[in-house]
Symmetry: C2
Subunit: 462 residues, 2 copies
């Protein structure tokens, strides 16, 4: 790729400013109050693809937020890369913990990002990583170095379970026809330890509601005599893990893929410092399933986490009340072969069965998706590996991620092509948290690495 | 008492309107946003005491909300009744469950209140019951039938633990000197089953905070590898009760008063229908400590209830986050001989001790108070009993209440006099809940009964 580094240097300021403009729009898909910002963001992505050189760009309506589609075909005989990303972001709360407003992007230096990092909701997940692909295309088109065809599919519902993407994919198999799917929505181990994500966890996300008495009660007059929905909810949730932190839902582990001793030994080679991990999170100790390391617990093992809980009086001061209802949002991360719909059913059946007769329980599934594994002998993975070697001077480490991109399994099923996860973020980028950020180094390194993927993938496809 | 019934009939409309005006002021002591309404309410109570015939009325400053003091001395040789009540109210949330706005009082008929009931926050607890005493005084003064001296002490912090009342009482022992303390802040069994509360439970109210990682984390990248503060909090709270619903805090039951078989048999005579109880709350079953009846569980036994819990994402939709912190408000109802400060210490020590090393725990005591028992051989109780017989035509049943008026134990300690709890509310009045109300019958019956208490107490004191 000729002049790529100089091109990036010459246009660095603009690349950053364009991303900053995109980050200013609060495209929070979980909260309908931001509907217009979501649509505004889709428009902005459309324009950026047109400017980057796509021949065809369109905003495709869905039953939810629209999908931005773009393509640049140079020769039907050449391979086609389909880029997937999302322009929606997570809610920003707890807002008070942000050191700068989540939608007023600012570049600040950090220990891990001496060249500075862009602080904003969505900086890394996924506006920043998605936009690297737009700028990589701009470079290849402007310098006449695009070696193959490219398609973009940028959705606006990833953070709420890609509700409508499945239907869109099913209805547009030809339009989306491709030889490999390229996604930057994951991370790498460190800026000097490049890695490629070869596995993703599946997800089942449910909301539970426990109802006791038909109204809030005075805890003095009724305390001790009626089931307190909050006390009951804590008992029910607590019982979902045993003393070894195994999940107690019958059948939960039946289909879990057990890795061989060799595979686990291979995984264990990835550089990892437990002390640094604890220090970064300011925790005295880690906590998890007996018999597995930290890196195994958050990648090859399924989990059950309460993501939110609420009930009763949560305001200032004290209120002696027994609430009528208590609620929790619970998500389970799944590993390959666990079917998310089956797990959701197992959870619902079990959770309802453990409720005492004194309360009623409602379980509402939010969304879910299957896990995924990329074989490293596939040419897409090899092209990515060579691209990282070119720009980082190091062979990347294949790594299982604990995160989920539910739609990836569906892509393979519907489009019959493999997905390559070239993530340039770091675990410390605080995605889904206050002060999310994305390193300037990572952003530019992504723009530099992506064109090499196109180059090597085209060569290996011959 | 001459003409009391006709006096009440003649002034019924005004008695109701005056109370309705008082109920319109949202004197929520738990929320500092209502500070001015609290002060406005104190002023209104002051004026009502002046109009009712007190010689001296003053608003006494404290470090918190002021205390309204009033007195009417007719002859220092005669006994003095000290009336205690409170003008502050509970928060109104969940506001959406009110069928009419909590601070726009309205009179509606109900099955239990065919003559209508006043619906408003504070209607029963305690503005309505406190104001009965003001109107009873008006009657006795206007008709020259006040048989003894009377003092009023109406505070504005009862719903937040009477923070400053203790100091006020300690500093004003002479001013508050009395022969009996009269309080209407409890209930009776039914409008045709009068009862007098002879026992109150103590209270320890704490807030707990569990902290895991130093920031909210992505539940995919960290799920299963770090302690989730919400999961941990549920485990910790769940462990506070064993499988028989006994509280597991070491030493918690050490000083609990165990009632004799005879006393429990006596208690069991109070009319009670478990079916009606379950039907009223729309629950399939009751729930509580093994070996005790519903009426024992909520009166002679201590309890531990979560009054509020919160943590993580509680908004619309789904957020895959592991929260940095989780919180709960927990209150324990105590029985006579359990010391609330000792129990608070036991709780704090135990709760901290059961936290896994992977999290840190903070326990903040909110407030508390001791339990109380009124001996029924005391002349105050006998005067009250005769008063009910006079106006209800039935001997009232002595009854232990599950509620707490923490300050009562302190009154006895500091002022060396017994407290008589003449409550006219019903359990179904929904105090501390949406749609709190107070029967018009109960309000007027209270105004009618109170003067007889003065009469008989004065006679029995001779």
């Amino acid at each position: 790729m000729k002049n790529i580094q100089s091109y990036i240097q010459d246009h660095k300021k603009r690349f950053l400013n364009e991303l900053i403009e995109l980050l200013k729009i609060p495209s929070i898909s979980a909260d309908s109050a931001y509907k217009n910002d979501v649509l505004k963001t889709a428009e902005a992505v459309k324009h950026s693809l047109e400017k980057a050189g796509c021949d065809v760009v369109e905003i495709c309506k869905t039953d939810g937020n629209p999908i931005v589609y773009g393509e640049k075909t140079i020769n039907p005989k050449l391979p086609t890369v389909l880029v997937y990303g999302h322009y929606d972001v997570q809610p920003a709360d707890p807002i008070e913990l942000w050191t700068s407003p989540p939608f007023e992007p600012i570049i600040k230096k950090t220990d891990l990002h001496p060249e500075g990092a862009i602080f904003a909701r969505g900086a890394c997940d996924d506006k920043g990583q998605m936009y690297m692909h737009v700028k990589a295309l701009e470079f290849m088109v402007t310098t006449n170095q695009l070696p193959c065809n490219v398609k973009f599919m940028i959705e606006g519902e990833e953070e709420v379970g890609s509700k409508n993407l499945g239907t869109f994919v099913k209805n547009n198999r030809d339009k989306l026809k491709n030889d490999v799917i390229l996604i930057s929505d994951t991370g790498m181990i460190a800026n000097d330890v490049p890695s490629i994500t070869t596995g993703l966890r599946g997800l089942s996300y449910v909301e539970v509601e426990v109802t006791g008495p038909n109204r809030d009660l005075h805890s003095g007059l009724y305390g001790g005599a009626v089931a307190n929905p909050i006390n009951i909810l804590t008992k029910m949730i607590a019982s979902l893990h045993d003393e070894n932190n195994h999940i107690t839902i019958p059948g939960f582990y039946d289909k879990v893929e057990e890795l061989s001793k060799e595979e686990r030994t291979e995984m264990a080679k990835a550089p990892f410092s437990l002390d640094a991990y604890k220090k970064a999170l300011q925790i005295n100790d880690v906590y998890g399933e007996l018999g597995y390391t930290t890196n195994e617990r958050n990648s090859i093992r399924p989990t059950l986490d309460v993501n939110g809980i609420w009930g009763g009086y949560t305001g200032e001061g004290a209120k002696t009340v027994i609430a009528s209802k208590a609620f929790a949002k619970i998500s389970m991360r799944l590993v390959p072969h666990q079917d998310w719909e089956e797990i959701t059913e197992l959870f619902t059946k079990h959770f309802t069965s453990i409720a005492p007769v004194a309360v009623t329980v409602k379980v509402t599934p939010h969304h879910g998706g299957q896990g995924y594994v990329t074989p490293i002998d596939n040419i897409g993975y090899q092209a990515a590996s060579k691209a990282y070697q070119q720009t980082f001077g190091k062979k990347p480490i294949p790594q299982r991620s604990g995160g989920s991109i539910p739609i990836v399994a569906l892509f393979e099923e519907e489009l019959k092509s493999k997905t390559i996860l070239m993530g340039f973020g770091l675990d410390s980028d605080a995605i889904h948290s206050p002060n999310e950020h994305f390193g300037v180094f990572n952003y530019l390194k992504g723009i530099e690495t992506i064109p090499y993927f196109y180059k090597y993938f085209t060569e290996l496809s011959k």
